[in-house]
């Protein structure tokens, strides 16, 4: 939680600074949106797993080379569905109709879509998603996007057993076990996936 707080603080500071720098330089603020769908492919522990990813980067153009903003989306892995919220940066090499770009998204994947019970629940985790791609300009300003990246996502799955009715153990409270639980198993997953995305810019 502390890591999440300091991360969100960093995002706020950087976003604030970039907005300020845009406004201070007297340029009009230009917004940019990059919406992509794609696949997350990686070897799970034993078998190859394919997940689905949807994300939208909303940012401001600092100059013709850099964009800064926030990325929201949905990542559906076979085992868990997470809602990523990340600080995003795009570095562009303007080159006519086909412009290469670098992307970096750092944030947190939330487990809000997962159903929780008294004995089974999930916890979200940090995500790190660098990518490389191209922006292809067609008629006007509409652009298609093709990108390839690496996505590292942490999350936890918890499975517990409740105490039998009437059993009052000692110690009754322990910070490592929620009250009323006899046992708890936490699986801390680090998913490593290759992301392949197609998208549009608005």
């Amino acid at each position: 939680m502390m890591r999440l707080l300091s991360l969100s603080r960093l995002v706020a500071i950087l976003t604030g600074y970039s907005l300020w720098s845009v406004v201070a330089c007297g340029q009009p603020v230009r917004f940019t949106n990059q919406t992509e769908v794609g696949l997350l492919s990686g070897s799970g522990a034993l078998i190859r797993q394919i997940g689905f990813t949807l994300q939208a980067f909303n940012g401001v153009r600092l100059n013709e080379f850099a964009e800064l903003g926030a990325t929201v989306g949905l990542d559906a892995y076979p085992e868990v569905k997470l809602l990523p919220l990340a600080f995003g940066w795009r570095g562009v090499v303007p080159a006519g109709n086909v412009s290469p770009f670098l992307g970096l998204d750092v944030g947190y994947g939330f487990d809000w879509l997962e159903r929780e019970t008294d004995t089974d629940w999930y916890g979200g985790g940090l995500l790190f998603n660098p990518s490389v791609g191209i922006r292809i300009q067609s008629k006007g300003t509409d652009r298609f996007i093709l990108s390839l990246g690496y996505k590292r996502q942490h999350y936890s799955a918890y499975t517990g057993q409740l105490l039998p009715e009437g059993v009052t153990p000692l110690p009754q409270t322990d910070p490592s076990l929620p009250p009323g639980m006899a046992s708890l198993r936490k699986d801390a997953h680090t998913l490593q996936r290759m992301s392949v995305r197609l998208g549009l810019m608005f």
Binding site: S43, G44, A45, T168, P169, L170, L177, S183, R185, A188
Partner: protein, 416 residues
């Protein structure tokens, strides 16, 4: 020079194009770190000499953190705090009980009071305290080595007690097959391990009858002569078979509930109980309560009992040598029960407390008087002034002078 540079560049590009995806696919397997946290018991070895030098006796009152057995004696409630000692509560006014003081007794789980003398187990010893003046409690007798099943050596210099604790360990693994197999083992182990802690452990249970103190552990009955209240004397040990849970004295008889049945003992000669019958159809997990004609026994599903039924059974004991099952009633999750005249109180665990009129034992289910659903109830004692109900959240007392309408008088909450 130029063609060489160009070919080097092309070679690099081909290399990257060919191997980058391969690296991405093969180099990135998931990581999994599993942390297990569970409650268990760890053995604690104690030297007899060190144990006997531990502090014993009355100290200032302290809040209840967890409640064990309860004993009612006159205007006082004695509440065990498992393994630590006994709280004494002034209950002269059940609407406003007062926490008087705490008797520090290491390894204590059970107690009984006889003529102003409190008997309490302390690991391997039986202690007797003079509690006739609760403001001035003194240890009057220590009967040594009377619970010898805890000794681990023949010289009786070392014994083992079990301490509830929480264990955490972490395991990093990448192989999914191991992961599932391990998960299955862990879950099984945990559910089988359920009975190893808490109230279902090797707890002694005490009762007084006909000048004798009867203390049961899991497989035997230990007998103490307490005709001289402050001089308990160990008489003998009677083997009972496995899984002894509770003991209830009534009219020159002892009713011993075990996980496999109900034993009836004749104690006309209290120093030498004679077995009258073993009623072994029931799997009783909780107190047997008895009146002149019938025994009421609860069966509960769950970890502490081997049978998957939740029942209240009525057994005809008019011929104590040949007890007969009269009728079984379905229950939700029955724990302790208490009988007061024609009224039976059944603790249904998380489902609350039920009261029944049992004058007609063949139609108990049609005669439920009340169901207090919001009070988690484990055990109940119909005392002179109040009905005392214990549960995980504390101890509550009810006015039961109007048996079909219980009136809450007070509650003592546990701090956890």
């Amino acid at each position: 020079m130029k063609p060489t540079m160009l070919s080097t560049f092309r070679w690099k590009r081909t290399f990257i194009a060919a191997f980058l995806p391969a690296m991405l696919f093969t180099g990135c397997s998931d990581q999994l770190e599993t942390t297990y946290t569970y409650r268990t018991q760890v053995p604690v070895y104690m030297e007899v000499d060190a144990f006997r030098s531990m502090e014993v006796g009355a100290t200032l009152a302290k809040p209840l953190s967890t409640t064990g057995k309860i004993y009612v004696y006159g205007d006082y409630l004695f509440i065990n705090e498992p393994q630590k000692g006994i709280h004494i509560i002034d209950n002269r006014n059940p609407s406003s009980p007062k926490n008087l003081n705490f008797i520090h007794i290491p390894g204590n789980v059970d107690m009984a009071v006889n003529s102003g003398v409190l008997y309490a187990d302390s690991y391997i010893d039986l202690l007797a305290f003079d509690v006739s003046n609760p403001q001035d409690i003194t240890l009057v007798e220590r009967v040594e080595n009377v619970f010898p099943h805890m000794f681990v050596d023949l010289q009786q210099k070392l014994f083992v007690a079990y301490k509830d604790t929480v264990v955490t360990y972490t395991d990093s693994q990448r192989d999914r097959w191991w992961y599932y197999e391990d998960k299955a083992t862990f879950n099984n182990g945990s559910s089988n391990g359920g009975p190893s802690y808490g109230q279902g452990g090797s707890l002694a249970r005490f009762t007084l009858a006909r000048g004798h103190l009867y203390a049961v552990d899991q497989n035997s009955l230990r007998l103490f002569d307490v005709k001289a209240a402050d001089k308990p004397e160990f008489v003998s040990t009677i083997p009972l078979g496995w899984g002894i849970e509770t003991i209830f004295p009534f009219d020159h008889k002892l009713f011993v509930g075990s996980t496999t049945g109900m034993h009836i003992y004749d104690i006309c000669n209290p120093a030498s109980p004679q077995e009258m019958a073993v009623y072994s159809h029931v799997t009783a997990c909780d107190p047997v309560v008895v009146n002149e004609k019938y025994a009421f026994v609860t069966l509960r599903s769950g970890n502490l009992c081997q049978q998957g039924a939740d029942l209240l059974e009525v057994i005809d004991i008019q011929d104590p040598y040949h007890p007969q099952l009269l009728k079984s009633y379905p229950m939700q999750n029955p724990h302790g029960l208490g009988l007061s005249g024609d009224h039976l109180y059944v603790c249904e665990g998380a489902y609350g407390l039920k009261s029944f009129k049992v004058a007609d034992v063949m139609n108990i289910n049609d005669n439920m008087l009340e169901h207090l659903k919001n009070k988690k109830a484990i055990d109940v004692i119909p005392a002179d002034k109040s009905l005392i109900v214990t549960g995980p959240e504390g101890i509550c007392q009810y006015d039961y002078s109007t048996p079909d309408k219980l009136k809450l008088l007070s509650c003592i909450s546990t701090t956890n």
